[in-house]
Amino acid sequence: MTLAPAGPQALSSLDEVPAHYSHEVNGELLYKLCAALTAKGLGSPETWVKCGRNCVAFARYSIMSAIGAERGELLQRNVEWRLEISDTLSDGYFTGDDDPPVGNGQLCVTASCDGCGYFRIGAALDSLEREAAGLGAAFYWSLVHALYRVMRIYDHDDALMYEEQLREYISEDDTASPDEYEFPEVKKALPACLEQTLDTKWTVAGQRLLASHANGRHGSWIRRLRTLNRLARVQAPTDGEVVRGNYDGPPLPALVLAFRDHDAIVACFDEESQHMLEASSEPTLCVVFAPDNRAEFERACAAAGRFVAFNVELFTLVEEIGAWEASYGREHRDRGDSSLRTA
């Protein structure tokens, strides 16, 4: 048998040809952020070693340590916040090469809601009203007042607006008969104490009433509410106006504030929420900062810290009222409520 002589290599080797490129833009901002976190005491040499000398892991671990495991788990149980530090203004849904940059040498810390929390407050308001007339209403209006200062929520006001739009839409349609449609009837879902105070809402007298019951039967809820009000008033300037033009709409609601399960507010939210992800939404929290500028970094930390503390206090209250309702609140439920009759 004759073996053919070895021929020249048909294809040149690809061993030396780079097949993968890792392109990094603004990498120095990450190192500056890590330096700022270390200078503030949030990151340490031990953290650096623990994270395998990886800057992204170091920054993430340092921030999560500042939030704390227990507080982080509380938030994860109740709401889906996406906390990001980025050099572009992406919204999580339309991320791409066209994302506008934050600015030269600047980063942006944002918090966007991917899944909102749920606060069923009807039984608690009833119990507060039984303790003192007007206490439940004062609690509700004070809570709504504090929430609006920090985040977008979905409450009876949004539901009322949705119902009004629905009725207007049907009345303008000549071919439709209003009798053929089922409207949510939000006003009927409101507890009597709120229906009577729809025009006055937050009042100084209500605040005094709350203060006078801070050591009462539901003193713990009232003290948490006062903490929420205090945190809501903390000066923590954000940069929502700067980035507003980059998004299609306002932030997504981070909390549905309903009175009962399956009530008219929940029904309206279920309808409206189907269209909420069709466009990009502004982040709830947005602070632009240069990581190597001490004052700007401190300002961003203060705003993010206030935001986390507010959410922790809010969802601690949600869980506390939920636990109370599970053990005591159900016996006082109004059995005449239509949502319960159908359940």
Binding site: A10, L11, V17
Partner: protein, 67 residues
């Protein structure tokens, strides 16, 4: 490692020149001929994947990178 050494490390990394991979890619993005070639290859791939059942013949010596 102390805290000050860690801060010095981050400062050094922040001011270091871009990595070689970054420079290669930047060079490619600035070279008109390289971009034209990439566009032609991309178009040829689209034709091949799209409708033409005949595979493109492989040139004997592969073209070296332009950078």
């Amino acid at each position: 490692m102390t805290r000050d050494e860690l801060l010095a490390l981050f400062a050094e990394k922040a001011t270091a020149p871009p990595p070689e991979a970054n420079q290669l890619l930047a060079g490619h993005l600035q070279c008109t001929a390289s971009l034209r070639l990439a566009s032609a290859v991309s178009a040829a791939l689209n034709v091949y994947v799209g409708s033409d059942p005949v595979p493109l013949s492989t040139p004997s010596p592969l073209l070296p990178p332009l950078m």
